[in-house]
């Protein structure tokens, strides 16, 4: 797994951020899915979920290197705007 745009001020270190996001992805449910977006050369899935009292935004896709495919987390940060997911509307 690779992180791109992640709010590092929420986390103490890069390793902690990776560990946290990996746990989030493992716990994602179908109800967390919001929509699909088209990027320059990929499509990415957007999810919303709640941690404590805070809504979070997660955008990820799969991409490849020479050895195969891997998960690329394009964005992971607290929600800035309300987000509609399959399970309902999530607020910042």
């Amino acid at each position: 797994m690779v992180l791109m745009r992640t709010v590092y001020d929420v986390f103490s270190t890069r390793v902690e951020a990776l560990r946290w996001v990996r746990g989030v992805i493992a716990d994602l449910r179908p109800a967390d899915f919001a929509h699909t977006v088209e990027l320059e050369v990929h499509v990415a899935d957007v999810y919303g979920f709640v941690v404590g009292d805070n809504g979070w935004y997660l955008k990820l896709t799969m991409t490849e290197d020479a050895d195969g495919s891997f998960v690329l987390v394009i964005s992971c940060h607290p929600l800035q705007y309300p987000l509609s997911t399959q399970g309902g509307r999530i607020s910042p």
Partner: protein, 152 residues
């Protein structure tokens, strides 16, 4: 094949998903700053290679990169904390606040603040924060702390 965790890292270069134009590969560069722990703008060592897109500049952090960045930033972070603590202690000394009084009020062992000033010990971020707060009207704040402990 899908790998849940690529502990060995990515086989660079990889086409950038962000811009679709550049390639991402480990790159060393001067002038980079980043947040690490409580400090917002630590200087990243010039020779530290971070996977970066050669077109849009987006950084990709996989497990090896995360470990390398954290390992490189930790000594920079500790050095900055020591610098901050020393600067605050100097300000407090200029206002006639003795290290012994500070050590007693902050629950530190005698001589600990001298070790920080000499670089022999690393201060915690909480201690640096406390010292920073005490530099603002130190006599009044120290008296308040002493009074709150006396009333406890």
């Amino acid at each position: 094949m899908t790998r849940e965790t690529k502990s060995a890292g990515i086989a660079w270069p990889v086409r950038c998903v962000e811009c679709g134009k550049g390639n991402v590969a480990p790159t060393a560069a001067p002038g980079r700053t980043t947040r690490y722990k409580i400090l917002a703008d630590l200087t990243v060592p010039d020779d530290l290679e971070i996977p970066t897109c050669d077109a849009c500049g987006m950084e990709w952090i996989d497990q090896p990169a995360a470990e390398a960045v954290d390992a490189a930033l930790e000594p920079v972070y500790q050095r900055r904390l020591r610098q901050l603590a020393s600067a605050y202690l100097e300000q407090l000394a200029e206002q006639r606040v003795t290290q012994q009084r500070l050590e007693k009020l902050l629950g530190l062992s005698q001589g600990y603040l001298s070790k920080i000033r000499s670089g022999a010990s690393n201060p915690s971020p909480m201690l640096v924060s406390a010292l920073g707060l005490l530099t603002i009207d130190p006599e009044r704040r120290l008296r308040e702390v002493e009074e709150s402990f006396a009333a406890a």
